[in-house]
């Protein structure tokens, strides 16, 4: 194992899959000559050439659709959205074409495509640039969605996504790109299955279910809770769809108390689904109502203080944990 950044981990995953399969190509805005708006594709143009690392004009609907078409005839496109806020321009392709094709064609056309890029609020980017798109896409059967929170998960999930025979969204995070973590050496194949959560920290008093940017928050908060004698178990979903029910249920059966901390908005958000499944399946295991810490249900304000008020934070999470623990 060695320590690398989340950005490097994604870069390695891209390079390894491009190396392995000549049908894989990377396309998006500024991915080639500029080496990526967030430098995730650094060096790939030099290594794989302009046939496979392809800059596009600002035409998200066009190049996302191009990817779906190319996938219909067997290529394995990796389409980068500069951010998933811009994927909304391509919503029709991602929601209507990519996941429906297999059904509509009676199973003749599967779409092995990866859509990837940063997702979720960053810092003071305002309403148009701060979307956490996972609940929008999770509502579309046929799509798979993963949300890596660590360099290791980023590498292993992206590689798996590229090899999957269905459309997969890899939702990265701008604020995580420079974060570091331990990852297997490059000569060791690292594949992390979709639909498999990971307990990032063992605990006995409360389960904190989280994903993407909120994993870091949950881990930091767990350390603080420890000081107050509350032992939190951190369950990182890693994939939103498929959702690893078993991992969630196992943890809840152990702690009997749940707080979900999510980076999206509350209304029809990811936490609502998790919450529903828990109460439907293991209601009797619960010793307290499930609480959710999410964004406030407002378009994202630019003002920093208001933005902080909208986003989940340690104080809100601690308050929720204490409430479910009756502490």
């Amino acid at each position: 194992m060695r320590e690398i950044t989340y950005r490097q981990a994604l870069n390695e995953a891209l390079a390894e899959e491009l190396e392995r399969d000549p049908d894989v190509f990377l396309m998006g805005e500024e991915v080639a000559e500029y080496n990526g708006a967030y430098k995730v594709s650094q060096g790939l143009l030099e290594r794989f050439g302009p046939r496979r690392i392809i800059d596009t004009p600002i035409s998200e609907n066009g190049f996302a659709g191009l990817g779906v078409g190319a996938a219909m005839v067997g290529l394995r496109p990796i389409i980068e959205f500069m951010t998933f806020s811009f994927s909304l321009v391509a919503f029709d392709q991602v929601v209507n074409n990519a996941p429906n094709m297999f059904t509509m064609s009676g199973g003749q056309f599967n779409i092995p495509i990866t859509f990837r890029g940063p997702n979720g609020p960053a810092h003071q980017l305002g309403a148009t640039h701060s979307h956490a798109t996972e609940p929008l896409y999770a509502n579309s059967p046929g799509l798979k969605i993963c949300t890596p929170a660590t360099p290791r998960d980023a590498k292993g999930l992206l590689k798996t996504a590229v090899r999957d025979n269905n459309p997969v969204l890899v939702l990265e995070a701008e604020l995580l790109y420079s974060s570091k973590g331990m990852v297997e050496p490059p000569d060791e194949e690292l594949l992390i299955p979709l639909g498999r959560a990971e307990v990032k920290r063992e605990g006995s008093d409360v389960s904190i279910v989280c994903y993407a940017q909120t994993v870091r928050l949950a881990l930091a908060t767990a350390a603080k809770l420890e000081e107050e004698d509350i032992s939190a178990e951190i369950v990182d979903l890693r994939s939103i769809k498929p959702l690893d029910e078993k991992a969630i249920f196992d943890s809840v059966a152990k702690t009997h108390r749940v707080v979900i901390v999510e980076q999206d908005r509350p209304f029809c958000g990811v936490g609502a689904e998790v919450c529903y499944r828990i109460q439907e399946n293991i209601f009797d295991e619960l010793d307290a109502p499930i609480l959710r810490v999410s964004q406030k249900d407002v378009p994202m304000p630019y003002n920093e203080r208001l933005e902080k008020a909208v986003l989940p934070n340690a104080d809100k999470l601690i308050a929720a944990v204490k409430k479910v623990c009756y502490a």
Binding site: E29, E30, E33, Y34, A37, D55, P57, I58, S59, E60, N61, G62, S85, F86, L88, V89, H123, Q124, L125, G126, A127, T128, H129, K296, D297, V298, P299, P301, Y302, N303, E304, R305, L306, A309, V310
Partner: protein, 325 residues
Amino acid sequence: MQSVEQRDEVEMLSLMLLIRRFEERASQQYQAQKIGGFCHLYIGQEAVVAGAIAAVRDDDYVITAYRDHAHALARGTSADACMAELFGKEAGCSRGLGGSMHFFNRQNHMYGGHAIVGAHVPLAVGLAFAIKYRGEDRVTLCFFGDGAINQGSFHEALNLAALFKLPIVFICENNLFAMGTSVKRSTSLKQIVDRAEGYDIPGEIVDGMNFREVRDKIAEIVNSIRKEPHPAFVEIRTYRYRGHSMSDPASYRTKQELEKYRLDDPITRLRAQLTREGKLTNEQFDQIDKHAKETVLASVKFAEKSPQLPLDKLYDYTYANGAKP
């Protein structure tokens, strides 16, 4: 007649200087972390917005993309309100809720400040539709970058404008780059203005470093539109001196290219024209520049001491009735 034109041009030069000094301060305040998020500067492009604004009335509609500080200033938004917006303060032109990319000023007919590339072009067509619907003789000025012309929304909007014969000037601020992508690498056409031809919209190329050329060309178009509503397209060739945003070192272009454009600076050019014609002395110019610098410095002080929107107003701007759902 002579004196009106003289006053107008010196006023417009003052506006261009105000924009430049504002952007320089914004850059400095961004580096001092008083401004957050993305911030795109207009330095080098001043003659485009100044020329266009000089050619229209105060009640005409203006809408643009995210490189919008200049358009708000040109539309009469105070430097105080603009700087306060960058600082995220309640006195900002969007109450500190929009930030650099989302400047609005309803009273002065500045309809934003839009950060999704291409997304505001249909909005502009909607503004123009409303003008025609109400039988008014206003005109809509829709500014956008060279990067926007390859979005589907742009194409749909142009067709709608042409089909419905709407009173709108599409103003492409061609500064040769969309982030690090040159027009050559993004667009199949030899020249951007040819996009208009595909929709049967009259198009022209204008030198964006020349204030007078921009003003005269747009004035001519606007006159024609006021007589009989129709869309028009201008490709205005300009250059941004700074990187795409504050975080872009702009290593995709050469020093020589930048220097070439700097030598053709729109402010220096207009100043030289006015001086040559005896309409402006060096002392007057220095006075104007001093005033611009003072105005902008004062705006920083204003923004700094302005209050933020109170936390309990968080839900007041989600729905028009202010109610929490």
